[in-house]
């Protein structure tokens, strides 16, 4: 058990947070960042709600890390405003913003013990040694690392390092927690455990968190809301269900989901459906409201828990699509043959032909 079992609110207020009355919301208005010719962040508006876990998700180079670094004060915006707790902090240095940040590499000071790592922000504040030690022990207790205080970062496992980094960030009692891909340095097995730790901790102390990742599984699993970013803009901001089931545009539809949403072209607009919604005839229950397609299967991948079928749709210029059948569908499918597949009508998503934005359902001609 990494955490003490005290109730979340009590643990937090036990430390005597003097800022608890202030609404802890990060608000970003029309934020731009240019690096020479390159526009990294291109006019972003964003409001995080009190206590929420907000994920910035996007491919590399989409501007999510730059946005986070501007909120932290590590990068100066070219234009726009950043407010934390209602106060304009755009011109303030990081230390005056009451934020804490956990870096991808954890950025622990390798020459200091764990105790000194955690105490470092307090020393910088000029806190007296007695109060400091108390605070360090409190933060260490919160993450179950009391036994590691005299070790050095080199002697710690990946998961332990993450907890030290969190303790160091937390010890100053920030209003906002900023995390920059903190799990990407861990191996897959450790990552699931670390994610669990992180979620439990966040829920318990209820601190507003902004979390940057390129991993959609992390984003879907952890985020209260997800801001999907591309080319310096937020393409969609919504709950995991919203961004997955009701993507705002073609980019979001194809970025989320693995494999991504299948997209088909028809005169005037685009439409799409998720691979798991694309089922062979006779499998789905609601036959009446389904839209039929002729699916020519080229190749099958067996992945144990599911089957991926690769092929194309006859009716739509032989557009390549993927179907994902759960292991519960045992129907034999032969390759290099046409099969009757269908999608429920309400699972079809429609997009504008020119700008790719979501549009109202359209009648399909065929």
């Amino acid at each position: 058990m990494p955490f003490s079992t005290t109730g979340g609110d009590r643990v937090w207020s036990a430390a005597g947070d003097p800022h608890s009355a202030i609404v802890a919301v990060v608000e970003v208005r029309d934020l731009r960042k240019e690096f020479g010719e390159v526009v990294a962040v291109d006019g972003v508006d964003l409001r995080s709600e009190e206590g929420e876990f907000l994920v910035l998700l996007g491919p590399s180079g989409c501007g999510k890390t730059t946005l986070l670094r501007m909120i932290a004060g590590l990068e100066q915006p070219t234009e726009g405003e950043i407010r934390i707790g209602g106060e304009d902090v755009s011109r303030l240095p990081p230390r005056a913003r009451r934020i804490a940040m956990v870096f991808q590499s954890y950025a622990l000071y390798p020459h200091m013990t764990v105790a000194n790592n955690i105490a470092f922000p307090l020393k910088a504040q000029g806190m007296d040694p007695e109060a400091r030690n108390e605070k360090v022990e409190w933060a260490a207790g919160l993450f179950g690392i009391e036994g590691l205080l005299q070790r050095r970062p080199r002697q710690l496992s990946g998961g332990e390092r993450q907890r030290v980094a969190l303790a160091r960030a937390l010890v100053r009692e920030p209003t906002v927690f900023l995390l920059d891909e903190p799990l990407s340095n861990l191996d897959a097995k450790l990552r699931a455990a670390a994610r669990d730790d992180l979620m439990e901790f966040q829920r318990r102390i209820g601190i507003t968190t902004i979390y940057v990742t390129h991993d959609q599984v992390e984003a879907m699993g952890m985020g209260d809301r997800i801001a999907v970013m591309d080319h310096g803009r937020i393409r969609q901001l919504g709950t995991p269900e919203e961004v997955y089931h009701h993507p705002a545009d073609v980019f979001v539809a194809q970025f989320l989901g693995s494999p991504p949403m299948n997209l088909l072209e028809t005169p005037g607009f685009l439409f799409g459906f998720r691979p798991e919604q694309f089922l062979p005839e006779g499998v789905a229950a609601d036959e009446g409201t389904r839209v039929p397609f002729t699916f020519h299967v080229n190749r099958i991948e067996y992945l144990g828990s599911e089957r991926f079928l690769y092929g194309f749709i006859r009716e739509y210029d032989e557009t390549r699509v993927i179907a994902m059948l759960p292991a519960t569908v045992t129907l034999p499918i032969s390759i290099d043959q046409d099969h009757k597949f269908s999608v429920a009508k309400d699972q079809l998503r429609f997009f504008d032909y020119d700008d790719g934005a979501k549009i109202a359902p359209q009648p399909l001609m065929r």
Partner: protein, 301 residues
């Protein structure tokens, strides 16, 4: 067995042959210009060979005893110590400050980098001759400036008085080594992960706290390496002292390397020169061992 152990068809494909071929210039260079003189010096030190009497006649430790008994030896040893320690303390401070400046972005950075490297790329003797003129007893521009500023009325005779001579020699040696040390420290500074620098900013540390509690501790191993190079270059190189003062006035800037040269080559007492030169060897080996061990221990932490 496998293809790696099979005899290659062409000589040019044989890794053993190629390894030997590519290493041979370095090996030949070291044997001819370092190894051979070194062995010769060891042999000479146990004889009483001189340019007047070039027979190898082994006398055991008699030559060492004679050198140690010379009062100039004790002076030179002390001067060598002073010279190396003070010059390198200066070098560490200046190089760290310079590296901290050079890692920043500013206009004309390339020019500053070029100027900083200049003392290092210029040939030692030429650069030192410039200093010889700069510190001239009559025409020194430094004296002229000080006179104009009203700080002195008489010339300083920088190289003519024991105290100022030692100061001058130390300053010029530090000036020469700073560029090398600055580049080494700069490399170390660049190697500090950006995340660490960002974490320091987020944690709210100011410049001095960052400098003394994060940057310098992280740089410690690399600074140790810079000091090692600096000390070796200061103890084993005689150019600056030889060109500026030849160890004078009255041996007040005499260091072991210049004394070995003056005694052995200029004075013709080859055996004594070799003995003085060899005296430095265990000192340098000792310093190297200590510094490398310290550097490695820091890295393990």
């Amino acid at each position: 067995m496998t293809s790696t152990t099979r005899q290659p068809r062409y000589l040019g494909d044989n890794p053993r042959f190629l390894a030997g071929l590519f290493m041979s210039p370095a090996v030949i260079y070291i044997i001819a210009l370092v190894g051979f003189p070194f062995v010769l010096a060891i042999i000479y030190a146990f004889t009483d060979i001189s340019t007047g009497n070039p027979d190898l006649e082994f006398v055991g430790l008699a030559t060492f005893r004679r050198v140690l008994a010379d009062p100039v030896f004790r002076d030179s040893l002390w001067n060598t110590f002073l010279f190396a320690v003070v010059a390198n303390v200066l070098v560490v401070i200046l190089a760290t400050a310079l590296a901290e400046i050079l890692i920043r972005d500013f206009k004309g950075k390339w020019l500053v980098r070029f100027l900083v490297l200049l003392p290092w790329v210029a040939p030692v003797s030429l650069a030192t001759i410039t200093w010889l003129w700069t510190l001239d007893s009559i025409f020194s521009p430094i004296d002229w400036l000080l006179r104009q500023a009203g700080l002195i009325t008489e010339n300083m005779y920088w190289l003519g008085r024991p105290g100022t001579a030692m100061t001058s020699v130390i300053a010029v040696q530090a000036w020469r080594i700073v560029p090398l040390a600055a580049v080494i420290v700069l490399a170390g500074l660049i190697a500090i992960p950006k995340d660490i620098t960002d974490a320091v900013a987020v944690d709210g540390a100011g410049f001095w706290r960052r400098m003394f509690q994060v940057t310098i501790p992280l740089l410690a191993p690399i600074i140790a390496v810079a000091v090692l190079f600096g000390v070796i270059l200061t103890i084993s190189d005689m150019s600056v002292v030889y060109v500026l003062t030849r160890g004078g006035p009255t041996n007040s800037t005499q260091v072991l390397s210049t004394w070995a040269f003056i005694k052995g080559i200029e004075g013709g007492a080859l055996a004594q020169g070799a003995a003085v030169a060899l005296f430095l060897l265990p000192v340098l080996i000792g310093i190297t061992a200590v510094v490398l061990r310290l550097a490695r221990r820091r890295e393990v932490l």
